[in-house]
Structure formats: C-alpha cells, structure tokens
C-alpha cells in the first residue's frame, strides 16, 4: 500500500511525508491528474488559504480526478484545509466552489476567543470512530485554523469546542478528514495516521 499525497504547491507535504515515514508507510507525491487515477489511497494535507488550495487544484486539473477517486471508493484522508475543501464553499473565499462532496459551507469561528484557533485542544466524541480507535478520550491534538465546518451531521464522529462546536473528525464510507494536524499531534496524531493506514490496507 502506497499513500498518494496530493501536492498542490502550498501544502505542508513534507511534514506529512515524514510522519508517514515514521510509521513505516510508503508515500509518493502527486501533482498531475494521472497520478491520482492510479492511486491506492489519497491524502490531502492542507495549510494556508482556501483560495490557494482550490485554485491550485483547478490549475493542476486535480479536481475531477480527486472527486472520481473518492466516489470510486479510494480511501481518502483530508487534513485541516483538506477537510474544509470537501464542502460546497468557504467564507474564506466565497466566490470559489469547493469539492462539493459534503453539503454546507465552511465558516469563520466566532471571534469570542483568540483567532486563529492555534494550539492543542481536546475532542468531543459524537459517534464511534475508526480514526480515533485506541486514542485516549482526553488526548490533545494540534489545531491551527480560523475557518471550520460548524454544522455537524451524521458523518461528524468528533467535534471540538472553541467559541463554538465544529467538526474535528469526519468519516463517511471511504472518506475521512480531520481539522487538526495529526502529523503535528505527537503520539495521539500518530495513532490517527496509523488507523488510517490500517483502513487503507
């Protein structure tokens, strides 16, 4: 099993690569549509601006291959902006259309607390989760974001609370996504990545 990392130029691909390496997983970077069509598992790491991500995916003609792969059952893990990209749109770049694999839009966290939401926070379990299997209920994960998916639906397996509750972990068939950075979240994060690798096998 080889994990295909979607490299759209601005993401934090190197740190995800290193985290996978530490777990003994093979990975390759994909920057072209044909690499996605043949992928066994896809990972979309994300950091930065929604506009940069969406425009880069479109410039590189990666949108349709990603959607097709996910609809075709290829295991997918979205990280941070990689979670937000799955929705219809984001208030961070209202004129752009997301991957539309999930309904709803990504919104700014309320300014009642310091933003970005940056640092280590805990999760609120909502449903049984495969990604969080074996993770302590009070484990901390590293977040660094201002925008979030605030509406929770059945695919929300864990939320996080910061000013308001938002989607922290979602699982829908072969589609998995986390708002925190598992590659930066110490042992708990490594466990989440290991769980994803097991789901891909």
């Amino acid at each position: 099993m080889k994990i295909t990392l979607l490299d759209y130029g601005a993401g934090n691909v190197a740190s995800v690569e290193r985290a996978l390496q530490r777990l003994g997983a093979e990975s390759q970077r994909a920057t072209a549509p044909e690499c996605i069509a043949s992928a066994q598992a896809l990972l979309l790491p994300g950091v930065g601006h929604f506009e940069t991500l969406i425009r880069s995916l479109d410039d590189r003609k990666l949108r349709a291959p990603i959607i097709n792969a996910i609809r075709g059952g290829v295991p997918f893990l979205g990280i941070c902006l990689g979670l937000q990209a799955l929705y219809t749109a984001s208030d961070e770049a209202p004129e752009l259309v997301g991957l539309q694999l999930l309904p709803g839009r990504v919104r700014s966290l309320p300014p009642v607390a310091k933003l970005p939401h940056m640092g280590w926070n805990r999760l609120l379990a909502k449903h049984k989760s495969q990604l969080l299997e074996g993770v302590d209920a009070d484990a901390y994960f590293y977040f660094a974001h201002t925008y979030a998916a605030i509406e929770q639906r059945e695919e929300t397996v864990a939320a996080c609370s910061y000013g308001t509750e938002f989607v922290a972990v979602l699982e829908k068939e072969n589609m998995y996504a986390v708002q925190f950075h598992p590659e930066k979240s110490g042992d708990a994060g490594a466990r989440v990545l290991r769980n994803f690798l097991r789901l891909c096998a």
Binding site: V47, P116, Y142, A144, T146
Partner: protein
C-alpha cells in the same frame, strides 16, 4: 475552551549548533539541535522554535539544513526565524520543514513583509517576534538581535502586525531575557489584551511559578524558554505537572 497552554523550548542556532547567551551576548555552545529537538519532542514540548541568531546570508544554507535535521525529529509544530527578509526567505524556511516563520527586524523595516507572507502562507504561519524593552511607562521595540532601538511602541506594533496578518505574537522582554528572574507579566498582559491572536511570552523564565504567573496574570497563550531546558534546570514534564496541579490546562505527556 480547553485550549492547552503551550510550553515551547527555543533553540538559538549559530550555524549548526545551539548556543546560549545572557541579554543576547556572551554566547556559549549548548549542543546539537537535532538531539535537543528529539529530547524535547519526547518530553512533551508543545512546539519548538529555532532562531538563526547569526542570520547572515553566508550561513543560510547551514541554517536550512539545521531546520531539516530538527524537523525530522519532531511530531510537534516547528517555528523558525532569524534573518527572514522576504517571502522567498520564508518559503525556503517552510520548505525545509518549519510550520511557521517568525519575522522581526525585517518586518519593522518593511511592515508589508507581514501581509505578503500572511497572504501566501496563511496567518497561522506568520509569527511576529517583538523584542521589547521598558522605557518609562511603555515598551519600545528593539531590533537587530537586541542591539538597536526602533522608533516604535511595542503594543502599537503588535496591533499593527496583527492588522497586517500576523497570526501570533512572540513577545520577548529584553529586560528579563537571560536573567531568570521571571517573565515580564505586565508586558505580556498588555500585548495579550491589545491583540486578538495568541501571544507567546519569552524572556526571564526559571521557576515553575514563573510559568504559572505568565499564564494567569500575564494572560499568555504559550511560554518560551531556552537555557533552563537545555541545562536541565527545569524538566518539561515536571513543569507541566506543576501547572496542571494549579488548574492551568496543559497537555501532559503520556
């Protein structure tokens, strides 16, 4: 809102070695950056900062290689700074494995550097480092590694930096740095109250009580220290247990 208060060891880097100093002068060798990074990662540090104190063009490739070696040891965020003068410099540091950059002297000289890097890499990747020194009833910004006063008020500069797109402020008290007499809670609280982003307090830490004070009275979101961790004066684990026992939320290592 159970966001943990962060404990951040800082490695001052000269080429490929960690160095220590008092009030930014009198440097001594403090070890290998990658080895220290691995140790702090295992001991429960929440983040690591590496600063290129030489910040010279010639030394740049060596510093980038140090970032690569340090990043390879970490499963926590890495912030790197020192000598970043352009978005291009920032990109090379982030590509080498840092998650965030710190901007200091170059941002004072040309504040647009903050907006340029924030737009390109996101506010969460841009930390504005402010070295502040008390002058009467206010604090002034000091640049060039603590050597030169800039004609700026530290609190006003923090606000301006955030308005330009900084996602975090690293506030170092030049009065306390290296003294081990405690963080400057007044400075940190003043900045923390003035801005809407997280504030990292730096300079003067020694005792666990200093950390407790900076997280309560100082309203800090994170606290940074260097030599007390390098010299084993304070273990990160014991520090976090101390804070946790006082009701300050921290991420306890397993």
């Amino acid at each position: 809102m159970s966001l943990a208060r962060r404990i951040i060891p800082c490695l001052d880097i000269d080429g490929n070695r960690v160095v220590k100093g008092v009030n930014f002068v009198g440097l001594r060798d403090a070890g290998d950056p990658a080895k220290l990074a691995a140790r702090y990662n295992a001991e429960g540090a929440d983040e690591l900062v590496v600063l290129d104190i030489a910040a010279s063009r010639d030394q740049r490739p060596t510093f980038l290689e140090t970032i690569r070696r340090v990043a390879a040891e970490l499963a926590i965020p890495l912030t790197a700074g020192g000598g970043i003068r352009s978005a291009e410099d920032a990109r090379s540091v982030l590509r080498a494995g840092a998650d965030k950059i710190t901007l200091n002297t170059a941002a004072v000289a040309r504040p647009e550097l903050i907006s340029e890097t924030s737009f390109e890499f996101g506010a969460q990747a841009v930390v504005l480092a402010i070295d502040a020194k008390r002058a009467g009833d206010q604090w002034v910004v000091i640049v060039r590694g603590g050597r030169e006063p800039a004609n700026r008020d530290a609190i006003a500069w923090a606000k301006e930096g955030v308005a330009l797109g900084a996602g975090e402020i690293l506030a170092t008290s030049m009065d306390r740095d290296g003294t081990q007499s405690g963080f400057d809670a007044a400075l940190t609280a003043a900045i923390s109250s003035a801005v809407s982003v997280p504030v990292i307090a730096s300079g003067g830490a020694k005792l666990p009580a200093h950390f407790a004070e900076i997280f309560t009275d100082g309203r800090a979101d994170a606290a940074l220290a260097a030599s007390i961790f390098h010299d084993d004066i304070q273990s990160i684990r014991e520090l976090k247990e101390f804070l946790s026992a006082r009701g300050i939320p921290v991420r306890l290592p397993c």
